[in-house]
Symmetry: C2
Subunit: 193 residues, 2 copies
Amino acid sequence: MAINLMSSRRSIRAYKLDPVPIEKVVRVLEAGRLAPSGANTQPWVYIVVDDGALKCEIRKRCEEADSVFHEEAPDWLKNWLRKEGITTNKRFLTDAPFLVVVAGHVKAPYWLESTWISASYMILLAEEEGLGTLTYTPGDTAVLNKLLGLPPDYRVVVILPIGFPAEKPLPERRPRKPLKHIAFHNRYGIDLL
Amino acid sequence: MAINLMSSRRSIRAYKLDPVPIEKVVRVLEAGRLAPSGANTQPWVYIVVDDGALKCEIRKRCEEADSVFHEEAPDWLKNWLRKEGITTNKRFLTDAPFLVVVAGHVKAPYWLESTWISASYMILLAEEEGLGTLTYTPGDTAVLNKLLGLPPDYRVVVILPIGFPAEKPLPERRPRKPLKHIAFHNRYGIDLL
């Protein structure tokens, strides 16, 4: 049942260094490929990165960009990041055996929305494969175009590290809001349930 | 298996008028609720619309905004829309027994990305429930805020009509690109497979 995947899946920041069979990664990509998109343009490409030096370079550039994000974050977000132990250290970008860099073609209609549907399909399939992942949104995409040889019409929207999880976050650690707080009937604020 | 849902699911534009049990809609919303989000802010709200007059008004305003989109579309998109029989007539907004209007809180980090993950979870769960849906992106969201009483910090990102399908599009009708055309190894253009 899809709901079980959705319910159990949590973002993974700690990865085992154990190799991941490429077939598993390909099944994740297959899921992304099947997503719907504006005018069926399928504006996404996936760059599967397993080159160690390239992963190091990607991590370095992402960490540089993230330090700006962390500095400029509002206080509540700074507090949340501190509480969760999330720093600008993005070791998952080098620990995970694979990075799936997901880019979208910015001239396609609804390219960003479509590419996120594709990424959503992939994170669910990773869960089904027993793999951990995380939707990491890099702060500087221009540098990634250069590192990955991406033509200028493509923009990286998310990096999905792929590996076997070295942590098992309990669903309770990242609780979701009850439906009655977020679902309304015909008008905002009117109870559905 | 999630891959079967992803593979069989297609966007539905023709809906039966038959009522849909509310429990089915609630299970769809439950899926959306479980999505990951930036800093776990869960910036989404869902307005479930089944009021006939309200659906008519939403449809009317969406069709008005869509006529601009259709007029301004580039030639290739105009051709695609014509080939697919997609016009500014959005009768699915009144035919479907339910509309799930999905809005995001624009001040949350990665609010748009997060809200699309939530919508992606919902379209897969709708498929599992035997329901049809479609990711319809309205052209004018300000008017929807007014019609639905949404506070100004919320913006509608997608409307999901929910109903039993009155069409069964073959997967072949909306083929997806083969993986070898979209998946690369360490660098754009380098074969993965």
